[in-house]
Symmetry: C2
Subunit: 388 residues, 2 copies
């Protein structure tokens, strides 16, 4: 191609993340028909690989144009019916918004809100589930606004003990492919995510996976799903057709993004770095970042007791040092070619910034992205006259 | 980039269409934050250019990840309320599906179905509007399944005369940027479209434009909009922020697709070929295709009286010659490197095929795409022993 890639800053926010060149190139695939024999296996294989990433051999992936948010709508309209009680574990902005989304469609969310910087309490989850009959519980695996990591395995265990009929919905937007997930083994009914975080693609895809129980719930609902574009009854036959090498049509799939998704999932599931090693590299990078910022005299947004097990491996929320704010750090990092994210939690968004460390930035060690950002952060703190 | 573009067949279906290399390259833009100072003007300018394409200086564009279909959902949930009567002009598969979508959300569609291959009758529209009070009318400008072209200017005139309070919704998925549209002058309230047809981008964007009256309708509705992901109340402030050079967040915009959209809209609105000339080139190419297939002894799906004014300028639906079907034409064209589309109208899908001729294939005359496809079609007919 007669084109030269634009120079760009190192993007270290909790999504979108840096995208590998082969994935970007796949996103520039020349036009092919969504019904062509060339595209069918690409879409079909992508669907199969998604199943591997969430470790759910018998579940149904759903890949459509949209964003992570659309997964909330699909949960609200396909799995739930008006009046259904839902327990929403909230650990930041995205848990709160998920509750807003559910209420839009007539479900009745009850929020169980953890203190800022703390994960959901298992005891409180158990207590809430005992106090009322809930059709579903939602868990934000990592809340992108705070970096808080919930423990879905333990939460699922509590749900199965206390209220086994409650459907378990996992918001994995900021966790799929950067945090370990075993959807089948843990008994999760629906995982929703997006393309631009751990999956390592450009944004523009709503990705999700529904369990067999979720599909049965859809089949046995009393009211019709209150969605057209997000209707699993319309999309699932399309997914099944492509996966079996055939074509079906509901709405035009985003062909180039699916080529990009295929390229990225191939690296994730069949590349030289195993999925287990991918998770380990996220843990290692996370440790490096968290120890690195502490060595610089900064502290995590997370409450002290959560700073090792209750925080994401794909991002870190960092408090500004006393007397400093966004203007002292973020533009100066950008001048040095590194983009961090601002705070997002309404209660304290001016008190912290966010570093993303997912995907190729941590899996491809030769990039040295983590060392680079810590180096520049140290320099910026020094310029600001801050030392620990 | 160390990559070589894959060879690909000439894609001449009515969407997705051939995408210019600069647009594909924009779709491979390196990751930048959706909130970055670099991306804000790209998004903002794309919004402004959309207004130019539909000729609606004061209307509100909405650009989100999705497909054309999502525009139906947004019309159903933002403009309409449960129980609202809607007159749906149907000239093929997509009119019928639009009615299904409206009914999903509780609106009451009444279909006015034209004979296969004929546009909607103005007299019948007037009569229907007199017989009942309709909150809205929907017009499929070009039904991709049949290539039938409706005349929105005349239909709008009838609506304004007979039932001026009726909102006018135009499905422009297969017409925007390939057929002339003057949204403001004609009095259209909502135009919905997608990225992968006349706009010349990869698929993955729901594009639409709401009039001031449409926005007032949203503000004065009695029930809250039954959508979260598609809520204009949530998206319009985001569009307005980006257009004014600021950032707002609801869900992550598809950054690379918006770079691609920007590149393509720049060619459409500020390139060496004016918008008027773009429409003319679509008309010229359409004439060339339609005369070309007739010279080969084939005939259009359209009823005879519609074959000049009632057919799209961006696509042609062609009947197979007697005794021939898809297997005789489509795979043989593909062997020659040209992709045509199969039939799609449920009443007669095995009786015709579809040729797309939109965007760069007709605007860039040096490509000679129309001559190429007519040449190969003539050869394929000859191989099949067919002569007129």
């Amino acid at each position: 191609m007669p084109f030269q890639q634009e120079p760009h800053k190192l993007l270290m926010i909790p999504g979108p993340i840096e995208v590998a060149d082969d994935v970007l190139f796949a996103n520039a695939h020349p036009s092919v028909a969504h019904t062509s024999p060339q595209f069918v296996p690409v879409f079909g294989e992508a669907i199969k690989m998604i199943r591997e990433v969430v470790d759910a051999p018998s579940a149904q992936p759903i890949v459509i144009a949209g964003s992570g948010t659309l997964g909330w709508d699909m949960a609200a309209t396909n799995l739930l019916e008006p009046g259904d009680e839902v327990l929403v574990l909230t650990t930041g902005y995205f848990g709160d918004s998920f509750a807003d989304c559910l209420a839009t469609y007539g479900a009745k969310p009850t929020k169980l809100t953890a203190p800022v910087g703390a994960p959901s309490s298992l005891d409180e989850v158990a207590q809430a589930l005992r106090s009322k009959s809930y059709k579903a519980i939602t868990i934000t695996h990592v809340d992108t606004s705070t970096g808080v990591l919930n423990d879905p395995e333990s939460i699922c265990r509590v749900v199965k003990e206390v209220s086994p009929d409650t459907l378990i919905i996992l918001d994995g937007v900021c966790s799929v492919a950067s945090e370990e997930i075993h959807m089948d083994a843990w008994g999760i009914d629906y995982v929703l995510f997006a393309s631009q975080k751990g999956i390592g693609c450009p944004p523009g895809l709503s990705l999700s996976v529904a369990s067999e129980r979720a599909m049965r719930t859809l089949e046995t609902r009393k009211t019709p799903p209150a969605t057209f574009f997000g209707s699993w009854k319309r999309w699932v036959p399309v997914m099944q057709a492509y996966e079996s090498g055939n074509v079906a049509y509901f709405a035009t799939p985003p062909v180039q993004l699916i080529y990009a998704l295929h390229a990225s999932l191939k690296t994730i599931t069949k590349g030289s770095v195993s999925l287990a090693e991918r998770y380990q590299r996220h843990k290692d990078a996370s440790k490096q970042v968290k120890e690195g910022i502490e060595a610089l005299g900064l502290e995590q947004l997370a409450v002290p007791e959560a700073r090792t097990t209750g925080v994401a491996n794909g991002m870190t929320a960092v408090r500004y040092p006393p007397g400093m704010g966004a203007a002292d750090i973020l533009p100066k990092m950008a001048e040095r070619g590194v983009v961090f994210g601002a705070g997002l939690h309404k209660a304290c968004k001016d008190e912290y910034f966010r570093i993303g460390h997912m995907g190729v930035s941590v899996v491809d060690k030769e990039r040295n992205d983590i060392s680079t950002i810590l180096h520049h952060l140290a320099e910026v703190l020094k310029e600001n006259g801050f030392s620990k």
